[in-house]
């Protein structure tokens, strides 16, 4: 198998790796760049645990090839906090007990952050539909939705 050299930017840092064309962006993040924040829950784009943004677009990194990341800007859960300063969503997820096992949390945070960047004041229904591709099996979603609402309110207040 011929591997392809890929240069890309992850959370603002330029990185490079060799990818087999069959490897997904998720495989490359986890196995080649040791960024294990994004999780593989299904491998078919049905659970959202691997959510990242590529050039600002929310995607499942299991449905993007590593080689497609060439020259792109990738953002993952590891890049959400600003140094020691947690993003309001991260703080609100902890405060509201919006995670139980926590495996889906990275995907929810990446997806919710992307939502609030596009729509700072989403309704409950808009939040629920935006996050419908992020499965959580522990919480029944209630506390997740409340955490996103609360973070949105705080961010609007601060803006």
């Amino acid at each position: 198998m011929t591997k392809v050299h890929v240069t890309t930017t992850v959370n603002g840092e330029e990185v490079e790796f060799l990818a087999d064309p069959r490897e997904t962006l998720l495989d490359c993040l986890r196995d080649k760049l040791d960024m294990t924040g994004a999780k593989e829950g299904c491998g078919t784009g049905d659970c959202g645990a691997c959510s990242v943004t590529v050039d600002g677009t929310l995607v499942c990194s299991c449905l993007v090839l590593g080689v497609e990341a060439q020259g792109k800007k990738v953002e993952t859960v590891e890049g959400i906090a600003d140094g020691e300063e947690l993003h309001p969503l991260q703080r609100k997820f902890i405060e509201h007990a919006a995670l139980q096992c926590g495996i889906c949390t990275p995907g929810f945070l990446v997806a919710a952050k992307n939502l609030l960047e596009k729509n700072p004041d989403p309704t409950e229904t808009e939040i629920r539909y935006w996050l419908a591709g992020n499965l959580c099996r522990c919480t029944g979603y209630d506390k997740i939705i409340r955490a996103v609402q609360d973070a949105a309110a705080e961010m609007r207040g601060a803006a």
Partner: protein
């Protein structure tokens, strides 16, 4: 697997035409990658068409219609206000494909070429009278969208042929379209039944109509009897019942884990009526 990034459709076509093994074109990848990961299809050559200029564009054509690039994602389609206002049914069909994450990648052409009878974006395109441009070894040709699928997982495209653009006709006045699908959950499912209606009015009377159904036959079907039931009516109960009866009669579905024959047939009649009402209201300018 070899990964290619051609910069013209002619090159993409030539690569595919000369490839000895299994070939796949990669746009959004939301089907290709699933099949790759599940080892259902492992292409020998994967041809990424996103590096071809213009594939991300949505452009007004001279005749007043639209030319949609093959790598335009569902999210990009939904963000195009003018297109949404003219062809809401086409756009809502595409926007029902997958999650927000999938919307960031999935494309009309990918949804079409995956060949699924349940593809959510296809009935809306068929009802709209959309066509595609196909680039092949012998040049380009135009084809109606309903002519593209040839059965579950199959298309009528020949080896080396690749769809290079989607065209929507001019919308014109007093017209509206709508797409509805039935799924057990509210999101994340494959359509159990899909129904698209596009129509034009003169006053209260339907003068033109196209009706397409998804997931009730081996391909998405254009149901002319259903359209005939609408034309000349003002969407009265009798016309709606005739519409439902024609839609039901066109159903030739399968029994599977997603729905029974009886259920798909019954619900096709229900959805087509609901979609017709929405299209009619849109044609009247009601939101």
């Amino acid at each position: 697997m070899k990964y290619h990034t051609p910069s013209t459709f002619e090159d993409a076509s030539a690569l595919a035409a000369s490839a000895p093994g299994v070939t796949r074109f990669l746009a959004g990848g939301t089907d290709v990658l699933v099949q790759l990961r599940a080892e259902i299809v492992t292409p020998d050559d994967l041809i990424d068409i996103k590096h071809i200029p213009g594939v991300k564009e949505i452009a007004r054509t001279k005749d007043g219609g639209w030319r949609i690039g093959v790598a335009v994602s569902g999210a990009e389609l939904g963000a195009h206000a003018e297109l949404v206002s003219e062809w809401p049914g086409v756009v809502e069909g595409m926007e029902l494909v997958g999650s927000t994450q999938v919307q960031g990648r999935a494309t009309l052409v990918g949804n079409l070429c995956n060949g699924s009878p349940a593809a959510d974006s296809v009935p809306g395109l068929v009802a709209a009278g959309a066509t595609v441009t196909i680039t092949g070894p012998g040049g380009t040709r135009e084809l109606a969208v309903e002519e593209v699928p040839a059965g579950p997982g199959k298309t009528s495209l020949a080896k080396g042929e690749v769809i290079s653009a989607v065209h929507l006709p001019p919308r014109g006045d007093n017209a509206g379209d709508a797409y509805l699908r039935f799924i057990p959950r509210t999101e994340m499912d494959i359509a159990v039944v899909g129904a698209a209606v596009s129509l034009r009015l003169d006053g209260d009377t339907v003068t033109e109509a196209r009706v397409a159904l998804g997931a009730v036959a081996p391909t998405v079907v254009l149901v002319s009897d259903a359209a005939a039931a609408l034309i000349g009516s003002s969407l009265d109960d009798a016309a709606l019942d005739a519409l439902a009866a024609a839609a039901t009669a066109a159903c030739n579905p399968i029994d599977d884990k997603r729905g029974t024959v009886e259920f798909r047939t019954e619900v096709a009649g229900v959805l087509v009526k609901r979609a017709a009402r929405i299209a009619y209201a849109r044609a009247k300018g009601e939101k």
